[in-house]
Structure formats: C-alpha cells, structure tokens
Symmetry: none
Subunit: 425 residues, 2 copies
C-alpha cells in the first residue's frame, strides 16, 4: 500500500477479546490523535499470543507508520507485547539497568520488595528509548525499528496510559511537527426532526472537507457535528461559524442548542429570562419530567414542583380532574391532559404547566389507544390550555417512550417560550 | 493462513476512530462470543470509507471465518457497510420489498413518513438473508458469500444490536452447533454494604474455579456474579445454587435480589404481597423516585402518586408542612422530611409514604449542612413516622447524589417491608 502517514492503535489483551473489561483506551487515544491532527484509520485488538501479534504487525506496518500499542507490558507470562515486537523485527532484547533501579525504587517507596518477575519489565529492544511511567512500574518504549515507522507502547491501565500520553507522547508528537493544527467542533442539537430528514435538508453540507459535517442520532435527539481543522481554536471557529449559521437557519426552531446546552438547560434559561415559573403533572412518566428539569442546579428559581398523578384517584382528588372526564374520555386523552395541566397550574400557582398522560407499555395498549400513545398538556400563562397527541410507536420500550414523552413536553414548551419571546421582544 | 474456525468483530464508524463515542459494542460482542464458546482472536475498527473496509475484509477473510460487523447501516451517505461488503464480493445489491414495507410501517406507527433515504436500508447483497431489527429501522443481514465464510451485520446503536444478537444471532449460532457447553450465571445484588466489605465476607469463595465468583460495584449497588460452565442450564444452576445460598446467608438483608430483580421490582412485589400502597414526596430528587418506581409496568397497583415539592411554597401549601418548621429547622432537616412524608400519606391516602429532602449540590452546601446531606422520611401504615439522615459525600456529583437518594429510600422501605413480613408471616 506504500507509504501513508497515519497512526494505528493496537490493543493487546485476551481479557479485551473476552469482554471482561470495557476498552475505553480506544476512545481516549482516538481523541488524543484527533486533537493532534494525526490521521488514524484503523484500530486492532489482539489477544496475548505472539504469533497473532506478529500477524497484526504484518498487516499494520503495511498501512500505518505510527503504531500505538497498549497492554501486555506487565510482569506475568502472558504479557508479551515487548517480546513480540522485538522478535518481529529480529532485534534482541536488552535489560535497561536504569529501569531496574527505577522499578526497585518504586517498590521500596511502597514498602515492598520487587519480585524477580518485574525484571522482565526492564527489557526493551536494542535501540528503543524508554517512555517513562510516572504512575506504575511498567515503562513503555518509543522505537523506530525501520525508516518511516515509529512504535510506541503503553500499559493497558488507563490512568498510567493517560499520564504517559500527556507527559511524554504529546510532547514527542509535537516535536515531530504534529498538533500544530488542532480540531475544534461545535455539536448542534435538534429535536422534532428525523436524522434522515435533517440530513436531506443539509445534504449539500455533508460533503464539505473543512469543516466537516456529520449527523448523529440518539433517543429522539439529532445532532450535527461541525468540525474544523485549523492552527487555533479561533481560526477553527471562523471556519465553523458560517456553516453552523446556515444549518441553524435551515433548521429553524428544531435547533435548540449547541454542545452542553441540554434541552432542560435551554428551557430553564428561557423561563429565567422571562421570570416565569413552571409546574408539572405526570402520569405515565411518574416523575421523570420533574427529575429531568431538576437535573439543573438552580432550577428552583423557575420550577415550583409537581404532582405525580399516577393513580386516577390522585388526578381527581389532587388535580381536580372531573371523574366523568376520566370515565368518558379515558385517563389517556387530550381532555384529561388539559385538565391535569390546568389543575397543577392552579394548585402550584405557576405561570406555565406541563402534563403528560400516556400508555408507556408494554401492557395496557388497545387498538384505539395503542402503546406509545401520549398526550401532552400545556397550560399557558394567559389561561389558555392545549393538548398535543403523539404516537411514539408500538415497538419502542417503556423506558424510551417515557424518556421521549418528557423530552417532547420540554421541547414543546421551548417552542412556545420562543414564540412568546419573539412577540414580546 | 488457511482455514481457522474463529470469529472477528469489525466495527465501522469514523466517530469511533475520532473517539466521539465509547465503543461498548466490542465488550458486548466479546462476552456474547465467549458465552457461545466461539473462538475470537481479533477485533478491528475502521472508518466510513469503502476502500478501507475492503482492506479490512482482505485481512479478516484470511484469518477468520465468521465476520461480525457493527455500524454503518443507517440511511445517510456515510453509512457504507452493506455496500462495501457487497462490492468486495462482486455481488449486486437488491432492494428487499418486505423490508421496505417493514420500515414504512415503523414510520407510520410513529406518525411519520419514510424519507427516500431510508430506502437504502432495504438493500442487501443478492443471496443474503435479513437479520430483523425489532428496535429500529435498519435490519442487518446474515450472508455466506463463499464457502466457510459467514458475515453478520448489526447497527451500531447498542439497544438495537443487543435485541438482534439475542433474538436472532444466538439462535443462529446454536443451530450451527455452537454454545453446547454454556456459561450460566446468577448475579446476586446487594445494597447497604461496600464492595470491599462484601468481598472480605465471601473471600473464601472468590478463588473457586467452577462456579467462579466475581464482585462488581456500580452506583451504590454491589453485585456478585456466580458463573458456572456446564452442558445445560440445569447442570450450571446445580453448581451455582450451593454457592449462591451460602452468599445469601452471609449477606442477610443486604441481599435484595438476583438478575432482573431490581430494587424497584422487589419493593413493588413486597407491596403487592401485602396489598399495601405507596406515595412519595420529593424535594431534591424532583420526581426521580417516582420515575424509578414507575419503571415497573403494573406499578399502578401499589403506587398512587406523589408530590414534587421542589419549592418551599409547595411543601407548605400542598403537603401541609408548617412554615415555622421550615424557618426554624430548614427545608433540609429530619423534621421537614417527616412532615413531608405524613403530608403526602394523608393527601394520597396511601399505606406507606416516602419523602426525600437534601442538598444535591453543587451549590447550596454549608458547613453545617454540606452537599450530600439527605433526609429520608418514612411514614408507616400504623401512623408512626421516622427520618433517616445520610451523608452521601461532598465529592459526588448532583446526578449520583439524587440517584443514591432514591435508591436508599426504596432500600429502607424494603427492609421495613421485610421486617413486617417476618412478624405477620
């Protein structure tokens, strides 16, 4: 494949193949390489086996010229990374006496004696440099076994890897000229639109090279990540800004915020801006909406409280929903959603009130009122009340239907606060 | 390399290389293959790029004969997995009309129209079978493009992958003769004990070979996984049972259930058994406790509802907490916790009532009442009321303090229901 300037991450450890531990090092190193602007096209995980590590080296050395190994640097017999790399390049191992002294000193500082097996951790291929480990006994190495190929090894223990990456690897790569250009991103967040729908609206932007635009979707929220590569954060933001502005203008009110702006924070900020208060009446969500609103520290300045009217008795007695309404329309109906919203607005004396009543499943659905049918009531400060009907789908599970119900209620309130905003402002 | 019977996991997604998301699918699939006894020597991650997916196929088809792909099945232009696999094997793509109908139906059940781009998700190489997706729009495939090579594709979204793995892939592999010696586990669950404390109590069991006993800890819950390898579930259970019984006897009431017995389900079952009802009054949790209780479908038979008394005005007006009490003792106090519990018990007419008031942080802490100080009130059916004080620690974050508060309230109710149980039974 010839000479390509790219890194490859190679994690060594049978415990990773067995799924005994979650491989978070891939994410850490992926972010680390991205921050330095080092291209990185492949990640490989292999067990504690010399032949297979050789096979991975055979493949990786043909397609990548910076190999970043993690794991297999410990003192036990199945820690094979250093040995496997040295033998692949037919290079003898040599014990580094400075490393032996360092390991002995680390054991002494913990009032322990070094076991003979730890001597293995002082071996490195002739010609390799030590990559010091400030947090553990096993050092890594930096080695250039052939022209245009650099190998770095790190332990698998995350906190040791992090310290070594930050203290030694990043300065090493910067010395080599990497990391002069950084990658900066803005994550734009949307509700009320599908991933495919939004992707079609911004299709002409998805093929841009710098900044790039990439869509993500999770639990009813759609995201577009706009990433730019530039010598400084300011320069990257200057590349991002016109594209982000165009996307915001296309998406209109479906865009609710960027990066750390959660729906809950955005709604809270709008309420604070207008000095208005909110209360909630929750049936199928059982408290999930209030819990979401109070995730924000300081939410007490606009959130008064609510009623978890799970049983019909509570809807009638505490919220004043007429029992005839429940009998004739059903607890899951637009009429009951409205009565719940008005009831909690009066009880709490809030400006706005949201209510949710629905069939979260898996039981309780009928042909007329299937699982996923949810009504959201919104009582406005001017005394009007409305109810919105949603079909969240019969295949989604209870947790997701409840989560989407709370998010949708907040999102609808957000849209109404924005409209009020435009009128009053 | 010849013909080796082994699986390889191949994850497709540039967002994985950039470290935008943590790749938990590798662990899930690693565990899944291990449980079936399928050897698995390599895992590969590659970006959304056809040439590089071809390069990965070139390597993987030489060393593995079951390829498990995740990711790249979405509707957008950078979702390339199906296309890349088909073109590698020079096989044309064909649209599956049954899949089109299924996707259209899923959109309709959510009251949405299918975007044209979703049609792409109905394409598969000629000769491939569909691997149905009960949780999302994109199905996967099972395909044998050549003798001795089987390819399975899954979406990258974990909950969709899990459902497809369990419902289709496991039965498929069992049909092929895998997973005859199976691994069966019981996960024992505990509250009110530390991981190291429990590990010391059961230290003599941690070195067993079959079954094995392994401790886990997460968000205040401690778990011991007892795993046995045997030809049948019954044989495995026979190995597990004596060890699990010994652990339960050591742990006493700190053990609350096994496997899918969540704290919420266990408390619900105890309430159902006694035909008693529950209501809640929540301050700092804002609805989280009620939301947790109503995670259980059918919880309406014992959970009446609650009041999210976030503001002090709601505590006074709706729950009848005397305002002098709030002024003299503070909203976060044993006295107010008791008054909240009694107040909601009377309002809802429930047998039991739980209340929570605390300082979830990060703001609002003082020397006398630091962040993490939480009072839990418990109103009993016989009219007595008690308050318990907890210091959840000043370094934990808001989310965790709120979560632990709800769990602790449920756990304390569980212990009281068990005591009542023993007396009445």
């Amino acid at each position: 494949l010839g000479y390509i300037m790219a890194a490859e991450i190679i994690c060594v450890g049978t415990e990773l193949l067995l799924g005994d531990i979650l491989n978070s090092n891939l994410q850490y190193l992926g972010q680390g390489l991205a921050a330095l602007g080092i291209p990185h096209f492949y990640q490989t995980v292999v067990g504690d086996n010399i032949d297979r590590i050789h096979q991975v080296l055979e493949v990786a050395t043909k397609r990548s010229n910076i190999l970043i190994f993690t794991g297999g640097l410990g003192p036990t017999a199945d820690d094979l990374t250093t040995e496997a790399i040295a033998s692949y390049f037919d290079t003898p191992l040599k014990r580094d006496e400075a490393v032996v002294a360092d390991i002995e000193q680390k054991f002494a500082s913990r009032d322990r004696e070094m076991a003979p097996s730890n001597l293995k951790q002082a071996l490195r291929p002739v010609g390799a440099d030590i990559l010091p480990n400030p947090k553990g006994t096993a050092p890594g190495m930096i080695w250039q076994p052939t022209e245009h190929l650099t190998i770095l090894t790190f332990p698998g223990v995350p906190r040791e890897l992090y310290a070594m990456w930050e203290e030694t690897a990043i300065p090493f790569f910067k010395d080599q000229g990497w990391g002069q250009d950084l990658i900066h991103s803005e994550m734009l967040r949307f509700r009320g639109v599908t991933e495919s729908g939004l992707a079609e609206q911004v299709a002409h932007l998805l093929s841009l090279a710098n900044p790039t635009v990439a869509p993500y979707a999770s639990q009813g929220e759609i995201r577009l990540r706009v990433s730019a590569k530039a010598p400084s954060v300011e320069a990257a933001m200057a590349l991002i800004e016109p594209v982000a502005t165009e996307i915001r203008s296309i998406a209109g009110n479906d865009y609710f915020g960027s990066d750390g702006d959660t729906l809950t924070k955005v709604v809270g900020n709008l309420l604070k801006l207008k000095s208005q208060t909110l209360s909630v009446a929750e049936s199928c969500t059982g408290g999930g909406l209030g819990s979401m609103i109070t995730e924000v520290s300081g939410s007490s300045s606009y959130f008064l409280g609510g009623v978890q009217s799970y049983g019909n008795g509570v809807k009638i007695k505490v919220l004043g929903v007429p029992s005839e309404l429940i009998e004739t329309k059903g607890a899951v109906s637009a009429e009951v959603a409205k009565a719940m919203a008005i009831g909690v607005q009066e009880l709490m004396g809030s400006d706005w009130a949201l209510s949710i009543t629905g069939i979260a499943g898996p039981g309780g659905g009928t042909v007329e009122k299937p699982v996923g049918l949810v009504y959201i009531g919104i009582a406005h400060p001017n005394g009007t009340v409305e109810a919105l009907e949603y079909k969240m789908g019969t295949t989604r599970d209870r947790d997701l239907i409840r989560h989407l119900s709370s998010c949708t209620a907040l999102d609808q309130l957000r849209r109404r606060l924005l409209v009020n905003q435009e009128i009053s402002g």
